[in-house]
Symmetry: C2
Subunit: 216 residues, 2 copies
DNA sequence: ACCTGAACACCGTTCAAGT
DNA sequence: ACCTGAACACCGTTCAAGT
């Protein structure tokens, strides 16, 4: 009676409604109207359930229009990955596990392929191209996690730390931070993912033999 | 009888022994030899407990010898932060919360100050300097989390995915990934944090007016 | 096959009651 | 003040028993 598809659909529904931290096997079973233990006949684990959800989500990541210039192509592919993860921040948390990316479907991996291929086109060796991808991956995952954890905190409970934020620093020891003061919070709230990404990609491609004429 | 210091010491002991995911209020109380509810007289929350632990850890981060060249100074400061977080990966998880950095002590913030000051010395505006720090922060946190989650998985249960790793990809759709094949795992295991960091810092400093003569 | 409730071994936190 | 056990409202997972 109960099917895997039904379970995944209900899980997506609950995550959208209550956030992914709130998802539990017991609540999920209740949502479907079934005993908690029933789910274990259709899914190995809670972890397995998350894998299946991420796999499904990965299949739905759109393939963007890719520009010709390789560096720009890397930026667009990375931003597509970023935007997909921003919509499912819980996926970012699970995907921090190494070798996990490989379990995504061909569709999501297509964007990884785009980045690696473009780096090679720009003169990287395959090894260097993997290094380029990893750098982008770290930066992207970090941004997503900081963003989503901060958002969660903001909405739920404490704007308490807001005023603790660089308000009362010792200007003798930390002159620049003290003079930035409250402005830090405003600056940190700005979305600078793409600016930082461009800087990173330029830096990575310029590094160690991947250098090529910077197309304007 | 029970003191805050005693609690923090016991917590550090348990984290070192069993990993931070295993730390619970109840186990912590048992380790001290006290009722679980007793802890709530010395600490607000489990979250509060983690804050205190991080604050304490931050005080112990060493101040490195800093090179003169600003770009290199940024790299050294970032690597110091990175190495400290690598020793306490659970701190990285908690610190992903925005505005949380600000609750560290002056000692740990000193490294943030170093980065911001060096960026300004290289010609950044204060706003751009914060942007530089944020980019470094995202990259660093991402690397730490990917590294620690992967390590946890490796040691505990599954080397299962190892062979699922890019072993059976469609070479027609994903030619570069397919030809990398099993090599991906070996490349991903390499520590390339500092290489990527240098690329990022160079890219960030070259960006938007922070440009200055690249000191050799 | 598919589903179930009871049970196990846990959580964080509150609260009235004790010294 | 400092500590406590009982209780509340949860977890993921196993397992023998049912249809």
């Amino acid at each position: 009676m109960t099917s895997r598809g039904q379970i995944l659909a209900a899980a997506r529904r609950l995550i959208d409604r209550d956030g992914w931290e709130q998802l539990s096997i017991r609540k999920l079973a209740a949502e479907i109207g079934v005993g908690a233990t029933t789910l274990y006949h259709h899914v190995q684990d809670k972890e397995d359930l998350l894998f299946l959800l991420i796999h499904e989500a990965g299949e739905q990541v759109p393939h963007p229009d890719l520009p010709d210039e390789p560096g720009e192509r890397i930026v667009v592919a990375a931003m597509t990955i970023h935007d997909a993860l921003a919509a499912w921040p819980w996926a970012a948390e699970v995907l921090t596990t190494d070798g996990f990316i490989a379990r995504l479907g061909d569709s999501a991996l297509g964007l990884v392929e785009v980045i690696v291929a473009a780096a090679i086109q720009r003169g990287c060796t395959p090894d260097q191209a993997v290094h380029v991808f990893r750098g982008i991956w770290y930066y992207t995952v970090g941004e997503i996690l900081v963003r989503s954890h901060s958002a969660r905190r903001r909405e739920s409970n404490q704007p308490v730390y807001r005023d603790a934020l660089f308000g009362s620093l010792d200007p003798a020891k930390l002159p620049h931070l003290a003079s930035l003061g409250e402005r830090w919070a405003a600056l940190a709230a700005r979305d600078t993912y793409s600016d930082g990404l461009r800087a990173l990609v330029n830096g990575l491609l310029a590094q160690g033999g991947c250098a090529a004429p910077q197309v304007p």
